[in-house]
Symmetry: C2
Subunit: 229 residues, 2 copies
DNA sequence: CCAAAAGTGTTGATCCTACACCCATGT
DNA sequence: ACATGGGTGTAGGATCAACACTTTTGG
């Protein structure tokens, strides 16, 4: 006997996560290989379970499949073409997430037998419509970081120098945050962040073969007040 | 025997539509009274059917319940609290839509026994979490009209005068498009729309106890090229 | 001393605000 | 003639891009 019965038809509902990070200063997305997904690369994600909401589902799936937790995650689109999965009708609820650069501890998991970062300019063929979803997520991230530049902080753990922050913006290809107009980037940042108290100066410096660079940290309290998801 | 069976649990999926329009120059939302919704006011919408995608579902439900079609409709959020509907777990996919001001022909429908516009400043108590959804939709529309001002064209049928267009912006309470700075609104519009070719002058005029006002029309081709959903 | 990257001052163009003013119609 | 709303010109302030410059470290 079937486990689930109803007088009405029901679709399946899953979450898929476009997880972005900086790897070698390139914007990169995390992909997984799972036993069921035609053995190809795909976005991390999975089916909604009874009693949880979509946000919980996305966090749970990401944690189960990669063992990580992220400082930023939010919904950006739905995918509901009845034929997007040939086996049955699945609504995919897509999330954008950000992981700070640095070590990624991948947890062993029976379903997932490979996990890796891929430069977003050079993604492999993905299962289902995941190339479309991933591309949309990247496009969305470019819009988002212009509307809510504090998103860039989520790419850094334990503070950042202004040059590092600028490189983060540059990884998105945004115009104003672009290449070597260091001066204007800093003026813009001062204007943007100072009024809102978004960043705080620390007394720490990043050392190198050059003048040490001051390290800044995001002001978590002020960040919570930022509008726009 | 049950109509639908599966080895896995499935949620229900529905679309709900926040349909906005201008009524007496006030931003207003369309609400319906249905036999099943505790006999209270609620957003138009209903369950996804087998073989259709979410956009089709939203258009179909709106058409079935109110007999109208709209020039703008797009997804803005999901609602998935497991307890948002006490009867069973329903994912609500929320859409924002715009209807031009003017006559609304309501089609008789057995499920819906009342339909009406409500000023968004003064909404009644709605079924389920529809007050939350509707409020979010209105907030979203305020963001959207700043990011993509051409949305304002969807509130007008058969052309608009510049004053009418400005009143549309004013209905959202936006700062720059605000009260009686006619001069700057027009300068801003010229700068925004001229470069993109978004509006075209017609040779028609709106008459009144005063100098006739030139009527403009949106350029549909250029509108399609506008970025941002 | 030199290389390399951090960090600052300032000008000129551009955009936006505020305010004043003229124009065309109905009564 | 005048009331009403349509429609425009423009000076001064704020904002922003571009470029040149100084500072501090390691080797």
């Amino acid at each position: 006997m079937a486990f689930f019965e109803s007088n009405y038809w029901h679709p399946s509902v899953a979450t898929d996560i476009v997880l972005l990070s900086l790897r070698q200063k390139k914007l990169s997305a995390l992909l997984v290989k799972r036993l069921d997904h035609e053995n190809g690369w795909a976005l991390p994600g999975g089916f909604l379970e009874k009693g949880e909401d979509l946000d919980q589902c996305a966090h749970r799936e990401l944690n189960e499949e990669t063992g990580i937790q992220v400082p930023y995650m939010s919904h950006f689109a739905n995918y509901s073409d009845p034929n997007r999965d040939s086996r049955h009708q699945v609504i995919s609820v897509a999330y954008l997430a950000v992981h700070p650069s640095g070590k990624l501890r991948i947890r062993a998991n029976s379903d997932v037998f490979d996990v890796n970062w891929f430069n977003v300019e050079n993604l492999p063929d993905l299962s289902f419509d995941h190339n479309k979803i991933c591309g949309d997520g990247i496009k969305y991230s470019r819009l988002l970081i212009e509307r809510k530049p504090s998103l860039a902080f989520a790419f850094h753990n334990g503070g950042f120098t202004l040059t590092e922050l600028q490189q983060t913006f540059a990884a998105f290809g945004g115009h104003k945050f672009s290449p070597e107009n260091k001066r204007n980037f800093r003026l813009w940042l001062k204007n943007y962040a100072d009024g809102r108290g978004l960043v705080v100066e620390t007394d720490k410096f990043r050392e190198g073969n050059h003048r040490p660079a001051r390290i800044y940290e995001p002001n978590l309290e002020a960040l919570d007040k930022e509008t726009i998801k």
